[in-house]
């Protein structure tokens, strides 16, 4: 698939710096808003806000995959997505645990984010200097990816458990095994957009819309998990939110695909030039 590749220059309408800021701020706001509203009302009704917040991180991650992988990494797209979530899971648990040790659960996501950004940068350095990838945006890309993976994991964990406390996340997300779906669904949300649109005529807006669409699917999955941890009504609420996001962005994505494709036909033979 390597040969498929994207355009090496990766023309972009949205600057990575802007997307990075939107990603980090959006996800953190989502996480904290959900936790604060949950605590204020004494319920877990607002957990879905954290799930929506994760989408910002996902978009930032998908854009980072797009930038790094445009340098001819085709078969490496899935690997880099898994790497992002792998780094994210370590950073998220580290940050949340450290926050709990200090007795300040709210500090967890910040510690995790800082740790993950440094972690990603170091992995990027190793990839470039030691393994010799020689991709100019590798360090920057892996920093973004690591941050995006961490934010997605924390946000979706909060969406399932309804709180930021380390003990409740361990009980609701890790011991139940729901971390598996966060890991794999989050990974797909970050890597699938570019993977699904790989090719010389890949467009940034289509790729990112696909990212949000897959994020919607992931929210459906966390909603299913929430059926167990938060009860039927709140689980269904999250499933409906995920479905609406998926549907809206799927229709959008299909519109963009129609815009970019050579032709969209109901049926037919090969293009006349190829017969």
């Amino acid at each position: 698939m390597t040969v498929g590749g994207g355009a090496t220059s990766a023309p972009a309408k949205f600057e990575p710096q802007k997307l990075r800021i939107y990603g980090i701020v959006g996800s953190l706001v989502g996480i904290y808003l959900a936790v604060v509203l949950n605590q204020a009302t004494g319920t877990t009704v607002f957990s879905f806000i954290a799930a929506i917040g994760a989408l910002f991180g996902v978009v930032m991650g998908a854009n980072a995959v797009r930038r790094v992988c445009s340098y001819g990494i085709g078969t490496g797209v899935p690997s880099i997505g898994m790497l992002a979530l792998g780094m994210g899971i370590v950073a998220a648990l580290f940050g949340l645990n450290l926050g709990a040790q200090f007795g300040m659960d709210w500090l967890g996501p910040i510690i995790a984010l800082i740790y993950s950004l440094i972690f990603g940068y170091v992995v990027g350095l190793i990839a470039n200097r030691v393994m010799g990838f020689n991709i100019p945006v590798m360090e920057e890309g892996l920093t973004d990816l690591s941050g995006a993976g961490t934010l997605a994991i924390i946000a979706w964990s909060v969406a399932i458990s309804g709180s930021l406390s380390y003990s409740s996340i361990v009980a609701d997300v890790l011991n139940t095994g729901f971390i598996a779906i966060i890991f794999i669904c989050g990974g797909l949300a970050i890597l699938h957009p570019f993977n699904a649109n790989l090719g010389p005529d890949e467009k940034q807006d289509r790729t990112l819309v696909n990212g949000v669409m897959v994020g919607g699917v992931a929210i459906v999955a966390t909603g299913v998990c929430a059926l167990l941890t938060q009860g039927m009504i709140l689980g269904l609420l999250q499933i409906v939110v995920g479905f609406v996001i998926w549907y809206y962005f799927f229709v959008w994505y299909f519109r963009l695909a129609k815009r970019d494709a050579a032709a969209v036909v109901g049926t037919g033979l090969l293009p006349p030039s190829a017969l």
């Binding site: 598996a180 990974g187 699904a196 790989l198 010389p200 999955a221 970019d260 050579a262 109901g266 190829a274």
Partner: protein, 301 residues
Amino acid sequence: MDAFNMGLVAAMGALATVAGASEDIDSDIGSQSNPNSQVQLAAQVGNPHRIYNKAIAGEPPSNALWCTTAAIMAYVMITAYGMPLIFAAAAGAALAALFDGVFSVSAYIGRSASQARFNQWIYLDILRYTTPSIMAHVWITSFCIVTVSIIQVYLLTPHHPFPIPIIALIWGLTVGAIGSSVGDIHYGGEREFQWRLFGQGLNTMLSGQIVRKAEAGLRNSIDNAWFCAKFGGPATGMGFGLTVFLDNWRTAVFDPVTQSFAAIATGIFFVIVMILYNFYCELSARRKYGPYPGYKGDVAA
């Protein structure tokens, strides 16, 4: 060893065989994984086609996703709502199939749209009749894998300590990896490139020159399923089924705690037998069909 456990191990082997077969056929219908690179290349070297392009992250991660999705649904249904085990697995598999449909459709239209300059059209009829076939096979795969996980956690003694979603994730990765290495060779080697000299490998010159026309009309992905169901699918099923069955058989016969040495020795014995059998297969193939036409004798290093 007791008869009930042994029966469960046999059932797990059978389920894994079915899962392996359907997993491979699912990826062949969608042209996922290794053979996907040629489907992707075809349009770029001037051969637009009517073959599905389901590029979802390679088989191991994508199957891990389907199986984990099915597993969370089944786990939630069992734990929170007391649903019978088999119904819960079926409900989970249904959700996994829906997820698969979403990902498949987005990959097909995305990849085709990104090849606009090579005149690769998006055919909606392909989406309509191929996607349900893919989803159906994913349903079978994830149902079988989740049932295996449920057996391991709830029925087999000693119960597996991991939660169902984690076990399903690992089995999903495994079935994807085995499908990718066993069955895809059959699809990529025998179906995409039908005329090759024995032992030739894929000549670089032929990259992307896949077979696009069928016996009548244009080839589509359902034709590939028909072809791969004859050998690639069953071979993958056998590979995965044997992996699950033999691995669990040795710990069912020998107690893993008191007779751990015997269990480990049996495992090593199986590995040695497999290596010898593979060696025999290779020799036998060379004897019957060889030597390789391009073979000019060993070249000194």
